[in-house]
Amino acid sequence: MPFADRAQEVRYQNLLRELRCLQCQNQTLADSDADIARQLRNEVFRMIGEGKSDDEIKDFMTARYGEFVLYRPKVESGTWLLWFGPFVILAGGALALVLHLRKRRTGATAPAATAARDEEDW
């Protein structure tokens, strides 16, 4: 059963790398040797042959197995923390750093004595 063209084959390979095998969980459909993964690969192949889009194929999988099959889950209320949590923490760290630096600068300009001692320490 060959692909109609090279583009279909590339789409097939890319989709398999984005879909999770549920039996082995930390493997993609491309990696997994499980029977269910083989079967789902066949389904992906069949749907590509039928002219389904990537989104339609992913919808087919999520309607049956849930968001968990997607290695790149959709951005929605339940995955908000997953997508943006790291950036929130990064922003928090940046804010703390800015505040700290600003305080240190104002602190350094205030009493001349401490400024001089700072230089000695260095």
Binding site: L22, A63, G66
Partner: protein, 174 residues
């Protein structure tokens, strides 16, 4: 102590609670998107008489447990006597989803361990299992009289789970 000095402690406690809440959860548990929705339309051959067709419509009317099993599945043997005992007592109607199994193997298995199923349909190639989001036997769906999926359990059922999770659901939907 300045209140600012407490910030790291607060952050630490918050992260601690967050991580602690994850302990003890089963990482293999995948919530089924089918729960709360009508079960997929299907029609499949009955195990004992493959010319007879079992469908979603033919099973409407009474709530039941749809148990995905196969003669090749070791954990199915673990839950089988428990399910059989509840079905015998009439606690629920039990329907079998014989998944990726040969007729002869399934019938031999049932002969050996007993057949508590009111109805059994087959899915030899596993294609129907995909529509149900099945990824490993045993799995058990609780189906309402109207064909709605009320619950899904993955893995072998034990008496405690049946009492705590399954029976209350059925009691709510006579």
């Amino acid at each position: 102590m300045k209140p600012r000095a407490l910030i790291p402690l607060v952050v630490f406690v918050a992260i601690g609670f967050f991580l602690y809440s994850g302990i003890g959860k089963d990482p293999r548990y995948v919530p089924s998107p089918l729960v709360g929705k009508p079960m997929p339309e299907f029609s499949a051959p009955a195990l004992h008489d493959p010319t007879r067709i079992v469908s979603k419509t033919s099973l409407l009317g009474t709530p039941y447990l749809l148990n995905v099993f196969g003669s090749w599945c070791p954990s199915c043997r673990v839950e089988h006597p428990i399910l059989a005992e509840y079905a015998r007592r009439g606690a629920f109607k039990l329907v079998g989803f014989n998944w990726k199994d040969e007729k002869a193997d399934a019938e031999r298995w049932l002969q050996q361990f007993g057949d508590p199923y009111a109805e059994i349909f087959t899915d030899l190639d596993g294609r129907l299992g995909i529509d149900f989001g099945v990824y490993g036997a045993p799995e058990t769906f609780v189906i309402g009289a109207d064909g709605m999926v009320l619950h899904k359990h993955v893995g072998p059922l034990d008496a405690q789970t049946i009492e705590k999770e399954i029976l209350p659901l059925l009691a709510g939907k006579p």
